[in-house]
């Protein structure tokens, strides 16, 4: 190991590990509770045990999801909708954010502010008029309806976030691209977009998440059980007669897995500092 490391660096690295392990435990503990619930044989939510693997642990709940409930159908619907929303979010936000960062045009400030304004309204009061509007447009019980709604919820943040990131990329890069013979769109597509990969990852992740775990809007639009997404399916485990906590817990863990996989696969581009070196000289 590095003999050139001074004691201060070692201290910094050690304390970093302590912080990371501590926060990892804080992040994991409540999730481990859900694992416990999912492994418990009877439908009990509470217990005085602090152990993670309960007595008589069983995978019955996980099995039941696939054999007795249409979990695979919900999984398919959710994946399909979330991926479309993610693609829409990335394409529309990366282009609109670029325009807001690089060009001055009439209504730029107004446009940016109006994006924020769309987020300021309590969602509960928008539900009723939204429902009426979707009925008039025949978008109830359609994938198109839900994709439009989710994209509209995710876009304002994504556009702002892309704009903020483009702002940190020096303009000299585009000028260099133009001199090398790229046209306006090529400089954006070939030079700026790859540099903005951390922001693209955030946009993709955020768009995906706003579709993946959303319940309230989905409950309004997707009334046909064939179109149900995962959150709607999960909610159906709750009933007046007593909720099926085991199934609920198992489903929640399974819902989390794709997000973790997505994050693991995109994480590399989140932390790729491409700017480094490209502005040198």
């Amino acid at each position: 190991m590095g003999s050139n490391k001074n004691p201060r660096t070692i201290l910094r690295v050690v304390s970093s590990y302590v912080v990371l392990v501590l926060f990892a435990l804080v992040a994991l503990y409540p999730v481990s509770q859900i694992v416990t619930i999912s492994l418990r044989p009877a439908d009990r939510l509470l217990s005085t045990s602090l152990e993670i693997i309960p007595e008589n642990a069983t995978l019955d709940n996980y099995r039941a999801l696939f054999t007795q409930r249409p979990f695979s159908l919900w999984l398919f619907n959710s994946t399909f909708i979330s991926l479309i929303v993610t693609m829409t979010g990335v394409v529309l936000a990366s282009t609109a954010g670029y325009a807001f960062s690089r060009f001055s045009f009439i209504g730029k400030k107004f446009g940016l502010l109006s994006l924020l304004v769309t987020q300021m309204f309590p969602a509960t009061m928008l539900l009723l008029p939204m429902y009426i509007m979707l009925v008039k447009l025949h978008l109830i019980n359609s994938y198109l309806g839900i994709v439009i709604m989710y994209s509209a919820t995710a876009l304002p943040f994504c556009i702002w976030q892309m704009k903020g990131y483009y702002d940190t990329i020096p303009r000299s890069l585009e000028e260099a691209g133009r001199i090398d013979g790229c046209n306006q769109f090529q400089t954006f597509y070939k030079i700026i977009l790859p540099l903005a990969s951390p922001a693209l990852v955030i946009t993709a992740l955020f768009s995906f998440m706003s579709a993946w775990t959303e319940y309230v809007v989905a409950a309004q639009i997707l009334q046909d059980t064939q179109l149900w997404t995962l959150p709607l399916g999960l909610k159906s485990f709750e009933s007046n007669m007593g909720s099926e906590w085991g199934l609920y817990g198992a489903a929640s863990i399974l819902v989390t897995v794709p997000v973790v996989v997505l994050f693991l696969s995109l994480g590399r581009w989140l932390v790729s500092g491409l700017t480094l070196g490209s502005v040198k000289g």
Binding site: L20, K108, A152, V259, G267, L270, T275, L276
Partner: protein, 305 residues
């Protein structure tokens, strides 16, 4: 001749900008404008359970009611609580998020990808089950928080969900846990935009850790963080789920209400649609005012270069 070239050039430029911005805005305007206008009309009407079909425009009456009506809990108390809720949450989200991003961004740390992934778990798990899990963890008798306090630290159990202050703290703890990964991911992305040479140069000058943080890191992650903080504030102010689920719809005795859960209760439990809509408009104006001031002070709508 040359002026027409300039004109065509400008036209092409405008078409290009329009093509970049228009698609996103068409989606947004369609989805937001109609419900918004509908809500304005509703807020000026007397629509409630008794006047569900024969409602009429009554002017600003509902707005006056919001400010003057003696409600349980009081409007001004709820407003103050919502402000405290928002400020405390955003403070911890941003401080913890940026701090963890800085820790994770050190090249010397091994297993960064694994830590990164574990730390986003609170964001990845469905909120509904998380809220209910935390509710279980705050349970007086069975909750693991009290079990840990008594067994490991020898402290007395706390009645988390029975008294207003403790319940409020419990809800805030839950939401801080839920929200820090989001800010961490944003900050991690933002940190990548900082050229490494800046730190190298600062190191050569023997700059302190604090100096580098204040003069390099914070100014350069600002363009990405400011929008996230602004929207985070707006979302936290309007967050209904967590309070509703952890405190079981405002327990104990409606003391954990925030402004949105107040709207929810007015509209969906008491069917006072006009009143609920007026309250929504007031929330909207509060947030609009905040954002305008915040954006102006941070100059976020302007470009850096």
């Amino acid at each position: 001749m040359s002026s027409s070239i300039v004109a065509t050039h400008r036209l092409r430029h405008n078409v290009y900008v329009f093509a970049l911005v228009a698609p996103a805005f068409i989606v947004l305007i369609g989805v937001v404008i109609y419900p918004f206008i509908y809500n304005i009309i509703l807020s000026l009407s007397n629509m409630n359970l008794r006047h569900i079909r024969d409602w009429e425009i009554v002017g600003l009456k509902q707005y006056a009611k919001v400010f003057t009506e003696r409600t349980q809990p009081d409007f001004y108390v709820v407003f103050l609580k919502t402000v405290i809720w928002t400020v405390v949450n955003i403070f911890f989200h941003v401080v913890l998020g940026v701090f963890l991003a800085l820790v994770l961004n050190q090249k010397e740390i091994r297993g960064r990808a694994i830590f990164r992934t574990i730390l986003i778990l609170p964001w990845a798990v469905p909120q509904l089950i998380v809220a209910l899990t935390w509710r279980g963890m705050f349970n007086y008798e069975y909750g693991s928080i009290n079990l840990m306090l008594t067994r490991w630290f020898g402290l007395p159990s706390v009645e988390w969900l029975k008294s207003p202050t403790e319940a409020f703290i419990a809800v805030i703890i839950t939401n801080v846990w839920l929200g820090f990964p989001f800010m961490m991911v944003i900050a991690l992305g933002a940190l990548q935009s900082i050229p490494g040479e800046l730190y190298e140069a600062a190191n050569m000058d023997g700059a302190s850790w604090l100096y580098k943080l204040r003069n390099i890191t914070i100014p350069l992650i600002r363009p990405v963080m400011i929008p996230a903080i602004t929207l985070g504030t707006v979302w936290t102010f309007n967050n209904l789920n967590i309070v509703w689920l952890v405190s079981n719809a405002g327990e104990p005795s409606d003391s954990t209400h925030l402004m949105v859960s107040f709207v929810y209760k007015a509209a969906f439990n008491f069917y006072r649609y006009g009143y609920g809509a007026a309250l929504s408009m007031i929330i909207f104006f509060i947030l609009l005012f905040f954002s305008l001031v915040f954006m102006r002070r941070t100059r976020a709508t302007e470009s850096m270069y």
